[in-house]
Symmetry: C2
Subunit: 132 residues, 2 copies
């Protein structure tokens, strides 16, 4: 079966889109560790992030999206994780942190997934997009 | 007290150096989650990574170091975390992963810090440097 992120990049699967350009796409994670948890992916398939050729361009986009999340959620603090195991397509996690967000100090609880309605997911994506 | 990473960047504190250029420095984490766990920092002080002006250059260096770690440890799989809480100076973690390395699937156990002698830390840094 084809990679799920390739399908999202080709619009064959839906997503709560936050940002898109020729090479990259950012959308909300459907298992958010906090409101605003966003994935940034290259549209081209790479198994591992350290193989992405356009790495400089990629992290310009990641920074742009991270700063939009900071403004949308009024927090300085956006952590990033690049694990690459759950979906074998290069991706960067951006997770805004808040006081008393249920995650431990200096770390994230991977099982602390927030329940957010579809309506609110759309509102969150729209809110981040305002700053992009 | 001045920031510890600024002191390392200014050579006022020692480190197991892996890479250095005009703007960036990479060195081994002294609380390694695996052998080869490396930090990449901008020499200039930034509190948060998403404020780093030279973000494109920064992640070119991060990619270069990540790929050297892959070669040095013969693993494809180098995860990256950007948390920013423990030391208030922008930094990127690079942690190579291995089969049966004591970390959970798709995640890291923050308390699983490996004991590595000073001699071996120097050998690890030298080994990574060979590929840079």
């Amino acid at each position: 079966m084809e990679c799920v992120f390739c399908k999202i990049a080709k619009k064959e699967f839906p997503c709560y889109k936050v940002y898109e350009d020729k090479n990259f796409l950012a959308f909300l994670d459907i298992r958010p560790l906090n409101k605003g948890h966003t994935l940034v992916i290259p549209k081209k398939h790479y198994r591992w992030i350290w193989d992405v050729e356009e790495i400089a361009l990629y992290f310009k986009v990641v920074k742009k999206v991270a700063n939009a999340i900071r403004k949308a959620f009024k927090t300085e603090w956006v952590v990033s994780l690049i694990i690459g195991e759950a979906v074998p397509h290069a991706h960067v996690w951006l997770v805004p942190r808040f006081e008393n967000d249920g995650h431990p100090k200096g770390w994230l609880d991977i099982n602390n997934v927030k329940k957010i309605s579809e309506k609110e997911m759309r509102e969150i994506a729209d809110n981040i997009k305002k700053y992009l």
